[in-house]
Subunit: 221 residues, 2 copies
């Protein structure tokens, strides 16, 4: 199959599709049946044209005056994001961040199921955290292989992140969600998504700095 | 002062500047004095042209054949990001995510100092988590006002996120780092940076889906 026939969805669009999905699920829970780009834009403080452009990556087109059938739009976004089936994952590193992720309730809504956590700390192994078993790290490769798990969540310290990545890859993991502040060495066909708190904070701190700079004395008194 | 004379640094550039900063601090710790865009690009698996373009937002230009003086480049990036001085912040919600952030060691390197945590849970109030005092939520507005704190970190459940935001704003908070999966109602001049796990996972799950789709049978056997 020719790879070039697929038009990759840009990262910012994927991020916004997740936002739309969240809001649409809320509207569904409120008993709504349809939604327009204009209303969705107002709810999310985004431009309607932005939303229309993003939704072109889904298979649907809205109807003038009616908008989208809510359930169709949700399914269509889920198909783009791969959220229409539950995907199993393992998590390595049951520290406070790992604990937070093991208990993150929204993961079930987006089709992510953490099967188990792994740690090297003997005081954690054997525990259940948010109902997920914590297993010894040396069982990771085998379990991943046996259960054909494709997603690994990495919440270990940076110093051991590469070693644990290698254990994941040895078991057949194809995608790594990396919360450790380190660039991982992985083969080209492995998907890596880095979550960087510092990068997110960079946006906040720069915007705050600029807002402070542009305040005239008249504004600050 | 005319706002239009400031050229806003695009969000993706700010995120990458944080990445460069992290790598440059590592190189500094290794005793290096200079760095070239080419080497930085190889370390971070990015295109050298991308790095050159991003660094145009800093005040520096590298020298042909030498590159950048490491310490100058670090300071220049810190000036753009507002990381050259320590900024105080408060955190609300001392659950597992809040606990992870209270103990996140890299914050000191990027100039973020969490002064205290706040919670409504009586079993947490009075504790110290990673050496930070956990105070009752009803003291938040007053402390923020008294200490002139400008940044609030929000790690409370979505249901109470707006209420806690209002407490922060009442004390004079100007920027909110929001980890709750909710769109906050805030005045236009308040900086809000949303951290969405689902948005990050959307990128990972879509890329994994596309990689699976484009695998030919020949590749999978």
């Amino acid at each position: 199959m020719d790879k070039s026939i697929f038009k990759a969805v840009p990262q910012p669009t994927l991020r916004r599709l997740a936002q739309y999905h969240h809001r649409l699920k809320q509207l569904e829970a409120m008993g709504r049946d349809t939604v327009s780009c204009t209303n969705l834009a107002a709810d999310l403080k985004l431009a309607p044209t932005q939303i229309r452009k993003d939704l072109e990556f889904s298979a649907l087109t809205g109807q003038a005056g009616v908008g989208f059938v809510l359930s169709d739009l949700i399914h269509s976004i889920e198909a783009v994001l791969g959220w229409d089936n539950t995907t199993d994952a393992v998590l390595a590193g049951a520290g406070s961040l790992g604990t937070a992720l093991l208990g993150y309730e929204r993961f079930t809504q987006i089709g992510l199921n953490i099967v188990a956590g792994f740690d090297i700390d003997g005081t954690k192994v054997g525990l259940k955290i948010h109902d997920k078993a914590i297993l010894p790290l040396n069982k990771l490769t085998n379990l991943v292989q046996r259960m054909k798990i494709k997603i690994g969540i990495l919440t270990v310290p940076a110093e051991v992140a590469q070693t644990v990545t290698n254990l994941m890859l040895a078991g057949g993991i194809r995608a790594i969600w990396n919360f450790a502040p380190i660039i991982l060495e992985t083969p080209a066909d492995i998907v890596v998504e880095n979550v960087s708190l510092a990068s997110s904070y960079a946006v906040l701190s720069n915007r705050l700095l600029e807002a402070t700079k542009t305040q005239t004395p008249a504004q600050t008194t």
